[in-house]
């Protein structure tokens, strides 16, 4: 299991260029964000230019990884050890983060110009940069201190971004999110405290060697699990998610749903893999909650009457798919084949969902901007006037529904196969039901949009490229399904 996270000794040291790439990937986003705050770009082109070096840095790191295998950095500053590792998984997550964030960043100027053209909106840039940096750090971090710090930075940046819209509802939602996120990270910290006091190390690779199954590990795992579940909006701790997404700016919602909650989930699965290998009941509980999440998220989304609520609730359901995979990844006596299948399916689903959800939020944002309302009723007639936005929504929802050819489908396929092999029929049923529920709420949107009986003529025109960016993301989510072996090869490249 541990090689999957890259927690072993690498055979090569990183090249000098890789150091620069690392620095670029971690620091450039912040700098780009500061530049953004100063210059307040109103077009996509400067944003593209600013994103370019970051993306290049990321790609360089991936190339180095492919050549040299696992990369590791270790610094000791005043008796405190900081460790970073760049495994195949990190590579994937880094890429998905950077590209999704770049797409979101390119979408942002047009969005802001059309909706919130006041001065305050400049703060989104540094926060976004900070968020991306923190996320990148999370994917790379290999010790608990870095992980904790990055998680906290990410959380605060996310809260800040969510508050930017300044609506009372947004403030309330943001307040709830802030409180719960802080408390969640304290639970996480408490877990770290227990681990540190028992095993005396924060380094994950060391912990892998040391950790034994005893009550203190369990309590730590439980605390971390609960705290991270809260931050990752896992059912039934997802209550804060919907209002936050509903009231935030579209690019913020996109970024948050696509990446931020995934980071907590990533840490959860990482730590539990270390602390609780071969455990039956706790992952089972998560899986059961996941099944409930699939159904519950689907139902709430199905009955929602605002577009963004629908999408946010769908996130809850989609996280359920990932939760259901927990026993397959952590359970005892899982044969190598289903384990590998579930592993691939888990990350593929995570990536596909990130892309599709970002695309979906953007498409929904476009629809909302154009119609001026966020309720589903306002969509009547959009199929004629805004076919492209709707098409993007459709393509993205193909991934969410898990219909072929999409990343969602391939991931679901892998998960299903793994579940069938391990004979977890209830989970299979939940996945199936999830597909149907997703279809139910997605097609509800289309039902409204195909309604031609309510003619509307006052649609606000969209900025150029807003649809295009979303389309690229949505199509990427589709292509990820057909070309799944490419990212998965990267995922396997680390240790096999």
């Amino acid at each position: 299991m541990m090689w999957r996270f890259g927690l072993y000794d690498p055979s090569f040291d990183p090249l000098w260029m890789t150091h620069w790439a690392l620095a670029g990937a971690l620091l450039l986003p912040i700098m780009a964000g500061l530049l953004g705050a100063i210059f307040r770009p109103s077009r996509a082109l400067p944003v593209v230019l600013a994103c370019m070096p970051i993306l290049v840095a990321g790609v360089l790191m991936v190339i180095d990884y492919q050549q040299a295998g696992l990369l590791r950095w270790q610094w000791v500053i005043g008796d405190i050890e900081f460790t970073l590792r760049f495994s195949g998984l990190s590579a994937l997550m880094l890429l998905i983060t950077q590209w999704t964030a770049a797409a979101v960043a390119m979408y942002t100027p047009g969005y802001l110009r059309l909706t919130y053209p006041d001065l305050n909106n400049r703060w989104i840039w540094p926060l976004m940069g900070l968020l991306v940096s923190a996320l990148s750090l999370i994917w790379l971090a290999a010790d608990l201190l870095t992980l904790y710090a990055a998680l906290e930075i990410m959380g605060l940046a996310a809260v800040g971004m969510l508050l930017l819209s300044g609506k009372p509802a947004a403030l309330k939602a943001g307040m709830r999110y802030l409180l719960l996120a802080l408390v969640g990270s304290l639970a996480f910290l408490l877990g770290i405290a227990l681990l540190l006091s028992q095993w005396g190390s924060l380094n994950l690779a060391v912990l892998v060697e040391l950790v034994e199954q005893e009550p203190i590990t369990w309590v730590a795992a439980a605390l971390m699990g609960a705290g991270l579940a809260l931050k990752a909006a896992l059912f039934p701790l997802h209550g804060w998610l919907t209002p936050v997404h509903e009231n935030a700016w579209t690019p913020v919602s996109a970024l948050h749903a696509a990446l931020v909650i995934k980071a907590s989930l990533y840490i959860l699965i990482l730590l539990w893999s270390i602390l609780l290998p071969e455990t039956l009941l706790a992952p089972r509980l998560i899986a059961w909650l996941g099944m409930l999440a699939i159904v519950w998220g689907g139902l709430v989304a199905w009955r929602a009457d605002s577009l963004k609520t629908l999408i946010a609730s769908s996130t809850v359901g989609q996280l359920g798919y990932l939760m259901v995979a927990f026993p397959l990844l952590l359970g005892p006596g899982i044969a190598p084949l289903p384990l590998a299948l579930a592993w691939d399916g888990f990350w593929l689903h995570l990536m596909g969902h990130a892309l599709a959800k970002a695309a979906m939020f953007m498409a929904a944002g476009n629809l909302i901007i154009a119609t001026g309302e966020s309720s589903l009723n306002a969509l009547a007639g959009t199929s004629r006037r805004l076919p492209l936005s709707l098409l993007i929504f459709g393509i993205a929802s193909v991934t969410l529904m898990g219909l072929p050819p999409s990343a969602g489908f391939t991931a679901k396929w892998l998960l299903l196969q793994s579940m069938v092999l391990t004979q977890q029929w209830v989970a299979v049923a939940a996945l199936m039901a999830g597909t149907l529920l997703t279809a139910a709420y997605v097609f509800r949107v289309f039902r409204y949009s195909f309604d031609e009986t309510a003619p509307r003529h006052d649609y606000q025109p969209l900025a150029p490229g807003m649809d295009l960016i979303a389309l690229c993301l949505a199509v990427a989510a589709l292509a990820l399904g057909l070309l799944a072996h490419l990212p998965l090869a990267l995922l396997h490249g680390g240790g096999a």
């Binding site: 719960l180 039934p236 209550g239 609780l276």
Partner: protein
């Protein structure tokens, strides 16, 4: 050369049909000549083909594989069929002259009727020709179906309620017949993997269930041939169809059923199973039942064409009986076959002439009435065997049966001839009663005279095998002729006896009036079953919708829990942590 002629023979009717459609859209109504010489010529190439010789064609591309043949059976058949169609077309030219004038004057109804008739006439002809030359199942079936369904338009021609009823009866029985034929063919072909009629015949003779296949085919083809019980369409359809259509319907088309039997039933095959012989007996009995029953019922009919229809049933009954003989005593068949062909050919032309005669008696030319009615009666007299070709054909049959000592059948046939004579008398009598002067047309009576002549000299032109036509020796003449006067006398006596009594004549179509209520009940049952299905489905849908609404209501109430979860995020997190810890401990300790 022969292939070219074949192609022309088959395509020419299509060309004719196409030309009528063309005319309908391109020629203005007042110039339109519906029964042009082109239209009349539809059957000519086929007639020519019949006299070219015997040939075989194999066309792989054709449907399931085409295999056509002009042989000792199909050639004479084609000859008399094509001849009858040609003559009937001429007759039609005269018969429809009045209607055509109406049409040209602008009567939309007449236009429509003529248009329909002239389109479907050549199509019916095409079907008839195809089924004669076809020796593979698909072509035969195609021809048969084409003929059957296209003839619907001929029957329904004048559009009166009676015509609609007749056409409906025709169509319903035709559909049943097609179904039975298809079933029989499928069974036979499936059993022995054959696609030719000969293969079917062999299968019927040898297969385990051969007798059932034979029964299906016999009944299916019997619809056309007027087997008793399935004959009801004849007396309903014939009186209402125009005379030329009745002529071909009764002369050529019902012979198609007979031809089918001759082609597919294992007639004359050695070593038939006892069941097959049993079937032969049934066929025999059915044939004679038809022969006598139709005669007894037919003489009461008012309409001369209805009488003729019963006469056709009666005649076909005799032929059916002969087919039965072929199954019961196969050895007789080889000699009987030419006689049967002659019988059929003669009957075709004679019946054609009789039907055309009905139209002549309705539009009498200014001839002396006795002469005219003598001529009208002449083909009928020939049919009874008292004259000319009829005598030859009767003798041919008797001769063959004598050879194999089938006296009982001869006796029955002779008695049946009395019925024939009675029917002919009744028919002429009715015609006399309903005669009309005027409106005659030279094509009309000319064609009739030609048909009459052709009927009387059938053996001369029918391309039968050498030496198969034997002139009856003089001493047998009495035996052949005597039924005619007896039949005439019996009718005269009957008519005189019942002159005063007011017995209403029985309706034509006899059993139809039994069948149709039953069928209506069946159809309404099917409809109500379908309705019930629909209703059942509607109820289940309504039920499902109702339960769906209830579930949705519950769901919405349940979704309030979302707000609760939002309120209690912190507490839930605590609970989750405790739960996880407990689970881990439980498992670990």
């Amino acid at each position: 050369m022969s292939s070219l002629l074949l192609a022309v023979a088959l395509l020419w009717p299509l060309v004719v049909a196409g030309s009528t459609v063309w005319c309908a859209y391109q020629v203005p109504a007042h110039q339109r000549n519906y029964v042009s010489m082109l239209w009349v010529s539809a059957a000519w190439p086929a007639l020519l083909l019949a006299y070219v010789g015997e040939f075989q064609w194999t066309i792989n591309a054709w449907m399931l594989g085409g295999y056509w043949e002009l042989n000792a059976l199909s050639r004479p058949w084609l000859a008399f069929t094509a001849l009858l169609w040609s003559i009937a077309a001429f007759h039609a030219r005269g018969y429809f002259a009045g209607e055509q004038r109406q049409a040209q004057a602008g009567d939309a109804n007449a236009q429509r009727r003529l248009q329909r008739l002239t389109l479907f006439w050549p199509l019916t002809l095409l079907g008839n020709l195809l089924l004669i030359i076809a020796q593979d199942i698909a072509s035969f079936y195609l021809g048969f179906a084409l003929m059957t369904f296209a003839a619907y338009a001929l029957v329904v021609h004048n559009g009166s309620p009676a015509a609609t009823l007749g056409a409906k009866a025709y169509l319903v029985l035709a559909v049943i017949g097609e179904g039975l034929i298809l079933g029989g063919f499928l069974w036979a072909a499936g059993t022995s993997d054959t696609l030719t009629l000969k293969g079917v015949r062999d299968t019927l003779a040898s297969a385990d269930h051969g007798v059932w296949m034979a029964l299906l085919l016999w009944l299916g083809l019997g619809v056309k041939a007027g087997v008793i019980g399935l004959h009801v369409w004849l007396p309903l359809a014939h009186p209402v169809a125009p005379a030329p259509a009745s002529a071909v319907l009764s002369g050529a088309m019902i012979k198609a059923g007979l031809l089918g039997w001759l082609n597919v039933l294992p007639l004359g095959a050695q070593g038939l199973s006892p069941e097959m012989t049993q079937l032969g007996n049934i066929i025999l009995v059915a044939g004679f039942a038809a022969a006598f029953g139709a005669a007894l019922y037919g003489v009461w009919q008012q309409h001369p064409k209805a009488v003729l229809a019963y006469s056709s049933i009666s005649q076909m009954g005799m032929l059916t009986a002969l087919v039965g003989v072929g199954l019961v005593t196969p050895s007789v068949w080889a000699t009987l076959l030419p006689a049967v062909i002659l019988f059929a050919g003669h009957h075709a032309l004679a019946k054609g002439a009789l039907f055309m005669g009905t139209s002549v008696s309705e539009h009498m030319p200014k001839w002396p009435s006795p002469l005219l009615f003598l001529l009208i009666a002449l083909p009928g007299i020939s049919l009874t065997g008292a004259l000319a070709a009829g005598m030859f054909s009767k003798w041919g049959v008797k001769h063959a049966l004598y050879e194999f000592e089938q006296e009982r059948i001869i006796l029955l046939l002779t008695w049946a001839a009395i019925g024939t004579a009675a029917l002919v008398t009744a028919c002429v009598w009715r015609q006399w009663q309903q005669r009309h002067q005027g409106g005659s047309d030279s094509f009309q009576w000319g064609a009739w005279l030609v048909a009459l002549l052709a009927a009387l000299v059938t053996p001369l032109w029918l391309p039968l095998p050498e030496a198969s036509v034997i002139a009856p020796p003089l001493k047998e003449w009495v035996g052949i002729i005597w039924p005619f006067p007896v039949g005439v006398l019996s009718v005269v006596v009957l008519m005189l006896a019942l002159r005063r009594s007011a017995i209403s004549p029985p309706p034509s179509g006899d059993l139809w009036w039994v069948y149709s209520p039953v069928a209506i009940i069946c159809i309404s049952t099917a409809r109500s079953v379908a309705g019930l299905c629909g209703k059942g489905k509607a109820t289940s849908v309504a039920l499902a919708l109702k339960s769906e609404r209830a579930v949705m209501g519950g769901l919405l109430r349940g979704l309030q829990a979302e707000a609760w979860m939002r309120q209690h995020g912190g507490g839930l997190m605590m609970a989750l942590a405790v739960l996880l810890a407990l689970l881990l401990m439980w498992e670990g300790l």
